[in-house]
Structure formats: C-alpha cells, structure tokens
C-alpha cells in the first residue's frame, strides 16, 4: 500500500474521531449545566405542587404517599427534602467533571461541517488512488459506499 494512502487513512481516522466528539446529540459542559438547571427547576415546580398535595393529605389526616409519578423520577423529592440549590450543587459536582470539553452547539455544527467537507475530499482521493494503483488494496470497512461507487474503476 502506498505511503500516500496510509497518510490519507491516518488523517481520515483523526477526522472521524474528531467528528464523534462533535456529534449534535452530545453536550458541551455549558450545555450540560444548562440542562441540569432546567431539570432541577422543573423538579422544583413539581416539588412545589406536591408540597401542597402533601400538606392537604396531612391536613385531612390521610396516609402520606411519596411515590414518584411516571416520568418525574426522584428529583422532585430530593428538591423537597434538600432544597433546589443543594440538589443542583450536588448534581453539578457529580456530573460536570465527567462531561468532556467540547464546543457549544453552533461552533460544533460549524466544525462538523468542515470535517465532513474535508472527509469527502480525502475519501475521494483515497478511492482514486486505490483504483489507479492497479493493485489489490483492501478498502476500509467503514468506507462510504457512495464514494466508493462514485469513483469509476
């Protein structure tokens, strides 16, 4: 295999790895923090609502029920018991150190577009070299069909 193909493949692998980091579904530390704040604020709303229900139950001498409702999880109860700030601080301390440093959404989308553009160029060049070499060169298992078949050979 030519040195040129090896170099191209190294660059392709590097860009593919970088693209993984910039996937739209992943969050930057700032975005993760925002999500935590939203979740805790929502939990606080539920906790406030439930506090009134609980007060009502106690006032009527009913048995206290503290089962989380579907989709609400345990967070509202934690907020009720510990307070919004303590829960948010705890979540931040346990979650944020594990969120890899990545760009925020707009910058991520821009970088992802640049990577895709460069990958298109590199993968086409790679396939052209394979076809023109006249040798049997194994294609990458993750080669893109549309590029392999776009280059006539």
């Amino acid at each position: 295999m030519s040195a040129e193909i090896i170099t191209l493949r190294e660059r392709i692998a590097t860009l593919q790895a970088e693209a993984e980091i910039h996937q739209p579904s992943l969050r930057s530390p700032a975005e993760a923090d925002e999500q935590l704040m939203t979740a805790v604020a929502r939990a606080a709303e539920i906790a406030h609502r439930d506090a009134r229900t609980i007060a009502g139950q106690l006032g009527n001498g009913e048995r206290l029920r503290l089962e989380p409702r579907d989709g609400e999880g345990v967070l509202p109860f934690l907020v009720m018991l510990l307070g919004e700030e303590a829960v948010l601080d705890g979540l931040r301390q346990s979650v944020l150190p594990h969120v890899p440093k990545r760009l925020d959404a707009p910058a991520r989308a821009k970088r992802l577009a640049e990577i895709r553009k460069e990958l298109d160029i590199l993968e086409r060049a790679e396939e052209r070299l394979i076809v023109d070499s006249g040798e049997v060169i194994a294609r990458r298992a993750d080669a893109r069909p549309e590029i392999v078949l776009e280059i006539v050979g």
Partner: protein
C-alpha cells in the same frame, strides 16, 4: 443532476467479499483437519513410548539407540514437528484471511444496501 454510480464495481466488490469469506472458511477447515491429524499422530507416538512424548525436542536429542530403548519413533516425531510448523503458518494465514474477509464483507453489506436504495441504479 442525478449522480451516476459504478454499479458494476459495487457488484464486483460484493462478489469479491463473498469469495474472501469462502477462502477464509476453507483455510479454517484445513486448520481443523490438520489439527485433528496432528492430535491423532501425537497419540500414536505416545502410545508406544515409555516416557512422556510431549516434549519432542528433548526426545529428538537422544541417540537412535536411546530412542529405541524408550520406544520413541524419531522419524514420526520429526514429521509431527514439521506438521506443527505447517499448522502454525496455516493458522496465521487463516487469521489474516479472516480479518481481510470480515473487513471486505462489512463494506460489501453497506454496498448492497446502498445499491438497493431507490434511485441509485
């Protein structure tokens, strides 16, 4: 403008991947057969020998007279050593072939799906 794809190339690559899978499977079969043959010959060699015949290298160092005294068949043992070497080479070829076939097959499956996409052909 509609993009044109080299359909024949795609079909050829899919066929080649299948051929590679077949070759890898053939090598695997040969390895299994050779292993069975080696095991059977090793058992035969051990049966007559009055000392443990696992370490052929040490037994092969003995003089023909010493080998005779412990009922060790030196010629058969040498053939067996050669067979083991052949097996090691064959197994290396099999592993390489398997890796290449699996890579080609993975791409072939993607090519097949792509070729079945409406509007590609």
């Amino acid at each position: 403008m509609k993009k044109r794809y080299d359909i024949a190339k795609g079909e050829r690559l899919i066929e080649e991947a299948h051929a590679k899978m077949g070759a890898a499977s053939g090598l695997s079969q040969r390895c299994t057969e050779l292993t069975l043959d080696i095991n059977s010959q090793a058992r035969e060699l051990q049966q007559g020998c009055t000392v443990a015949a696992y370490d052929f290298a040490a037994l092969l160092e003995m003089s023909p007279e010493q080998q005779k005294r412990v009922n060790f068949d030196g010629a058969k043992a040498r053939a067996l050593v050669a067979m083991r070497e052949r097996l090691a080479n064959l197994a290396a070829q099999r592993d390489k072939s398997r890796a290449e076939a699996s890579q080609a097959y993975e791409l072939a499956m993607k090519l097949k799906t792509f070729l079945e996409t409406p509007g590609v052909r």
